[in-house]
């Protein structure tokens, strides 16, 4: 572990440490920057960040599902797919209740952050049936990105 605080004063900032020291207003804070937020998310499968993801060590992403379900996933801005799974809530179809478990990937590349849901496990409670569905083709409006933050500035 390295330290960026020194006797007789504070260095203004050193990237990648997780802590910001602000000599102007004399505060220290966690190094996390909000890069995207949609208070009423819908269908945000690909969003543009306010700053390139490469400036941060890691991204923290809130993925929204149908209704008001949210799951939080951490992603590295390396251009690779980062996998996640989440319970995506129940919905009523007539007299039936269907419960969804979604699997997908997140990818950060430059100022782009995208989410892809590859599969949706569906369990219908009455009658008791279950099946897997590829929801890319017909249900893209059911998930999206709600919030993105960059953690630990590195550049």
């Amino acid at each position: 572990m390295s330290y960026q605080l020194f006797a007789g004063g504070l260095t203004p900032y050193t990237a990648g440490t997780g802590i910001v020291v602000n000599n102007t207003n004399h505060t220290i804070s966690i190094d996390e920057t909000e890069l995207f937020y949609d208070a009423t998310p819908a269908n945000n499968q690909s969003v543009t960040l306010s700053e390139t993801s490469a400036h941060f060590q890691r991204m923290r992403v809130e993925v929204w599902f149908d209704g008001d379900y949210v799951t939080t996933c951490d992603v590295y801005p390396d251009g690779c797919d980062w996998a996640f799974a989440s319970y995506a809530g129940a919905e009523t179809q007539g007299s039936q209740t269907q419960r969804h478990t979604c699997f997908g990937t997140l990818r950060a590349n430059g100022t782009s952050l995208s989410v892809t849901n590859l599969i949706d496990w569906i369990w219908q409670t009455n009658p008791n049936q279950y099946w897997a569905a590829d929801i890319k083709s017909d249900s893209t409006q059911h998930y999206g990105i709600r919030r993105v933050t960059g953690i630990n500035r590195v550049a």
Binding site: L5, Y69, V70, T72
Partner: protein, 163 residues
């Protein structure tokens, strides 16, 4: 002048002060910089708590860090027979339903569990409910699914970044 210990260094934090929501606390008593994280619930047992009453309102914090136990599979087995895995989730106390899905471990008779859970925080109460439990039995290959509200339990809740 405030003296703060950082590792093995003692530094002068001239004029430094704390603001809510910054994630950092300066403890003037022991002169250390600490993460701003407060334990607001600890379970006396490590399973079965699906509605946790916290010691203060969750909206006092920017994030909640919730440690959960998972494993009961609803078949009536004694707790000693159940998987005993842990999962940790960070959520904002924003009234949304925060959900996750994760592997829940190997239960009795070699069933594998994959559970989906919903968490909600309101006032000083946090609830956790396992709404779906996918079970796979390997030989012969078989899949079942069930609701299992008691498949998760809240072990500990901390508030992160006081606002």
């Amino acid at each position: 002048m405030s003296l703060v210990s950082v590792g093995n260094k003692v530094v002068n934090l001239k004029g430094l002060y704390y603001e809510g929501g910054k994630g950092i606390v300066i403890d003037e008593t022991d002169r250390k910089i600490k993460n701003d994280e407060t334990v607001i619930f600890t379970s006396p047992q490590d399973y079965g708590v699906t509605s946790a009453v916290c010691t203060e309102n969750v909206t006092n914090f920017e994030f909640l860090r919730i440690k959960l136990w998972q494993g009961r599979n609803g078949d009536g087995e004694a707790p000693v027979d159940q998987p005993n895995s842990r999962y940790e989730i960070i959520m904002r106390p924003d009234g949304m339903k925060h959900s996750y899905a994760t592997y829940g471990g190997v239960g009795v008779y070699d069933w594998r569990h994959w559970v989906g859970t919903v968490l909600q925080a309101s006032g000083n109460t946090v609830t956790a409910r396992c709404e779906v439990d996918w079970l796979a039995y390997l030989d012969p290959a078989e899949i079942m699914c069930q609701e299992d509200p008691e498949a998760v339990g809240i072990v500990q809740i901390t508030g992160v970044n006081r606002i």
